[in-house]
Amino acid sequence: MTSREIVVDIIPPDEPVLSAPLAPSFDYTRSTGPVLGAFFTGLREGRLVGTRDSRGAVHLPPVEFDPHTHEALTEFVEVGSGTGIEGVVVVWTWVPEPADVAPLDSPFAWALVRFDGADTAILLPLAADGPGSVSSGMRVRLLWSAERTGTIHDIACVVPADAAGDTGSGDDQLAQSSGDEAVSMLVTPIGLSVTHTASPAESEFLRAIVQGRMLGRRRSNGPEVYVPPRDYCPSDGVAMGEYVEVSDVGTVTTFGIVNVPFAGQEITPPYVTAYILLDGSDVPIQHLVLGCEASEVRMGMRVRAIWTPEADRPASMKAITHFEPTGDPDADPDSYAHHL
């Protein structure tokens, strides 16, 4: 029997890999549907709206389907409205150092709060002096946000029920909400924070490109040279072979003309984005072809890389600003027919 080595050591490369911060952010836009729509519309108006299930339990936040029969729920229940809505802390934890995205700036508690008249609990921030002043079973009072737009943030927080002199709109007349159409959409801004790491082969490629060199890598099971180089061959999963420097001159295999303006565009349309098969390589790279009319670009056209000045050349494909026609005769179609 073959012995099993359960734990496999992963050997790092000799040269360190390159990394850079990556911060994708976007707005997640979601339709609410009728049930959550009623909940968020209610929040905007200073009302807590739940749903009643087949056993009579009131869910807040509301659920769309009955947990027992799985039928759609249609009976809405107003659990409370205006100021003075109270409930009880079911469980809690303490946040000594709130993150930037936290709903409260100063230390606070997360609490599952079951409001009077509801049978389920909702996660909310609880503003309190310290963990010593929070306990399961304590009574709390809801504070509305001064400006309400139909999101969960319309509830600013809950506070101990006996707390006096609260800030916010809680004890004043309920402030006006914005909008009068029922809430049907919800926008949640998402911001992620990632350290993106290039693979060992990508790191070699990026180090080379800063020096004005185009680096490829040959398959270990065949003659093909991939640009950019990879660590494992996508066709057979085998570790790639030797690194190979390839030319910065190549052939347009195929291309597209960008005519449509879009956000973030850096060149005025029309312009050409093309697949370029660098001499000595077997995988075309994508780049811009400029320096001639877009209508002049054609399959087989010979083009040369235009490098950014060495002093400010970045470790990215922007090390090459674009490709330009060399003026040489077009390549024989047979020379790139297998690379389309």
Binding site: M1, T2, R4, E5, I6, V7, V8, D9, I10, P16, V17, P21, L22, P24, Y28, L36, A57, H59, P61, V63, P67, V90, V91, W92, T93, W94, V95, A99, V101, A102, P103, W110, L112, R114, A121, I122, L123, P131, T151, I152, H153, L186, T188, L192, S193, V194, T195, H196, T197, S199, P200, R230, D231, Y232, P234, S235, D236, G237, V238, A239
Partner: protein, 353 residues
């Protein structure tokens, strides 16, 4: 169509990358997966072209880019064309998909893999919060340990477990002194550092085969004699957080028990995917695991918590105990999502069912 009995399915190979706080590798896992696959091939004598079906588990939010799992296919090699699938959850669920492929006769062999580079997320709390309800919970961005702390508190309030009992779970996993652990400050009251999983990068793989193939490949295949996964409601404010009805129901079905309690029979090893100390206590109780059962002898997520492969590793370790002859019957559990929301139970045996 005439229904036919599902075919026997067995685990025949398992390996994982050494757990690390931070790998040099990319978020697509290739650098960790390739050597792990090589070990799985070595254990079974199979080659990549012998694998009929591939299935992976990972999470794009850890990579910060869409469809990042596609890059991991570099490790497989896509030529000749492969049959491949992916789940955006722990790879234990990819294992379930592969099990079905073989049980239903659509494949004879499958390689299942999972990977996650948690260290790439410089704000892991926000990345993980995206698994929460997107309307009423995720927009508040609660931290992952804080969500877990609500469950820990629920059990303490109910008298189901205590901070001391939680510390004793950590003490067994880490070999540290229980009283020392209890003297440490809270990370998320009532959770201390030792109650929470570390940030771990990892990748793991399992090879499955039909019963006939399995007997050709290894001396003692670990037969999957029961497997089931069930989810509790995402509405965690309506749940009894001190219990896990879905894990129990999955165990009842996986063990083909009558009634509403699982009969674990001759199980002597239970690999539980419990990221927090209180969750081990919760599951022991929910599943009725007795003191004679070795719980998570591999160390589990309190020592190393490779996101999206830790559950698969539990199956791998349980299967390995069977293949090595340390037990005839082992139970593996995997979870995905927050607060033990989704639970998978897999029963592994040294003999065919």
């Amino acid at each position: 169509m005439t229904p036919t009995a599902p075919r026997d399915v067995a685990v025949v190979g398992f390996a994982h990358a050494r757990h690390t706080e931070s790998t040099f590798g990319t978020t697509n896992g290739v650098e960790m997966l390739a050597p792990v696959f090589a070990e799985c091939y070595r254990q079974t004598g199979l080659d990549r072209t012998d694998i009929d079906f591939w299935c992976s588990g990972s999470c794009d939010y850890l990579a910060g880019r869409a469809f990042s799992f596609i890059s991991a296919v570099d490790t497989i090699g896509a030529v000749p064309p492969i049959s491949e699938s992916h789940v955006e959850m722990d790879a234990a669920w990819a294992f379930f998909e592969a099990y079905l492929k073989i049980a239903t006769g659509q494949a004879d062999t499958a390689l299942v893999y999972g990977f996650g580079k948690a260290s790439a997320s410089t704000d892991l709390d926000s990345a993980m919060a995206l698994q929460l309800d997107p309307y009423t919970v995720a927009p508040l961005w609660p931290g992952r340990h804080h969500i877990a702390a609500l469950q820990a508190r629920a059990g303490i309030d109910a008298g189901t477990w205590s901070e001391g009992a939680m510390a004793s779970v950590a003490a067994r996993a880490t070999g540290r002194d229980e009283r020392e652990l209890l003297a440490e400050p809270y990370v998320a009251d009532p959770l201390r550092r030792h109650d929470c999983p570390p940030v771990t990068d990892g990748a793991g793989a399992i090879i499955l085969a039909s019963g006939d193939r399995a007997r050709e490949l290894v001396d003692t295949p670990a037969y999957v004699t029961g497997i089931e996964h069930i989810a509790d409601s995402a509405e965690f404010g309506a749940r009894d957080l001190t219990d896990s009805p879905s894990a129990r129901a999955a165990a009842v079905r996986a063990t083909r028990s009558s009634g509403d309690r699982p009969d674990l029979g001759g199980v002597t090893v239970a690999e539980l995917h419990t990221q927090y100390t209180h969750q081990e206590l919760l599951l022991r109780s929910a599943l009725g695991i007795g003191d004679h059962v070795a719980v998570t002898p591999s160390g589990g997520s309190l020592l190393a918590d490779p996101l999206f492969s830790a559950g698969l590793e539990r199956i791998g370790y349980a299967a390995n105990d069977v293949m090595e002859g340390r037990t005839e019957r082992a139970l593996a559990h995997a979870t995905s999502g927050h607060l033990l929301q989704q639970n998978l139970i897999c029963l592994l045996e040294g003999r065919p069912a």
